[in-house]
């Protein structure tokens, strides 16, 4: 038989493994969603660069496909009990976040195309960073790394900003998602 100290150490060990498994499952699902968004926005930037007048339509389609794909991946990944209610709360938080972004960028800010181009990616990266406080440091690393590169492009990429965004935003998400799957 073991004493209470050894029993307590065994339970701590169990809790540590359970925490790792939960984080791993979150990373496995989230990384797929992040990679998908990376590919989508990469194509979006390239399409926007190729057909500038269709910019708004391109991004509406990109976002709708992305949202549908995210819901599909989350549903297909299989989640534990209580995860459905949690996913709805997360979705509501995201909707509020986006509503605030629209209020800032359109109503208050009257951003031009260049500002708009960098505002939304950085704003969504802020959501990733906040999520990282609960779900793991990988989200924060991806958010901060991608945002820093976007800001550099805003100041220095000049007319090639759309191409820069395709590489650092789209490519950054794909690389970040692949990295997340390995940790």
């Amino acid at each position: 038989m073991i004493d209470s100290q050894q029993a307590s150490a065994a339970l701590d060990d169990i809790n540590d493994v359970v925490r790792r498994v939960r984080q791993s499952r979150i990373y496995q699902t989230a990384s797929l969603i992040i990679i998908m968004w990376g590919l989508l926005v990469f194509l979006g930037y390239i399409a926007n660069y190729t057909w500038p007048p269709l910019g708004y339509a391109i991004w509406i389609v990109t976002d709708l496909v992305g949202i549908a794909g995210s819901i599909g991946i989350a549903a297909f990944s299989g989640v534990g009990p209580g995860a459905g209610a949690f996913a709805i709360r997360l979705l509501m938080a995201f909707v509020l976040f986006i509503a605030f972004g629209i209020f800032c960028s359109v109503v208050l800010g009257h951003f031009g195309p260049r500002q708009m181009l960098v505002f939304w990616p950085i704003f969504t990266m802020l959501f990733y960073a906040l999520a990282g406080l609960w779900f793991g440091y990988a989200f924060i690393v991806i958010a901060l790394g991608t945002s820093a590169l976007i800001v550099i492009g805003y100041f220095y990429a000049g007319p090639a900003l759309l191409l820069w965004m395709a590489v650092v935003h789209g490519g950054g998400l794909v690389v970040g998602g692949l990295w997340m799957r390995r940790i």
Partner: protein, 99 residues
């Protein structure tokens, strides 16, 4: 008086069962991921999984994904029950209800 499960009590087997038990029923973990999550080495993990499989606590499924062999380990109903009893016994020991 409840007894600790001697098969599960070994530290690495405890971690293996904790990892598998944290998944939804019938969901397994691929060998490489299990190795990472438990901090085990290849040979070590294989030997302990075999012990758990012989006790009927885990099911081992070997398949090919493309040309790569993939081993998936899943906790059985018996394994989940034994793990739950083991954890309950640990909690009783901490609460002072066991010697």
């Amino acid at each position: 008086m409840a007894e600790l499960d001697e098969i599960i009590h070994q530290p690495l087997r405890l971690r293996i069962m904790a990892a598998l038990n944290a998944l939804p029923v019938s969901t397994g973990l691929e060998f490489a991921r299990l190795k990472k999550l438990t901090g085990a080495t290849d040979g070590n993990l294989g030997a302990h999984i075999e012990t758990l499989a012989k006790a009927g606590y885990v099911a081992v499924d070997k398949a090919f994904v493309g040309k790569k062999p993939q081993t998936t380990v899943t906790a059985t109903a018996a394994g989940r029950g034994a793990f739950a009893r083991h954890v309950a016994t640990l909690q009783q020991i901490i609460a002072g209800k066991q010697p």
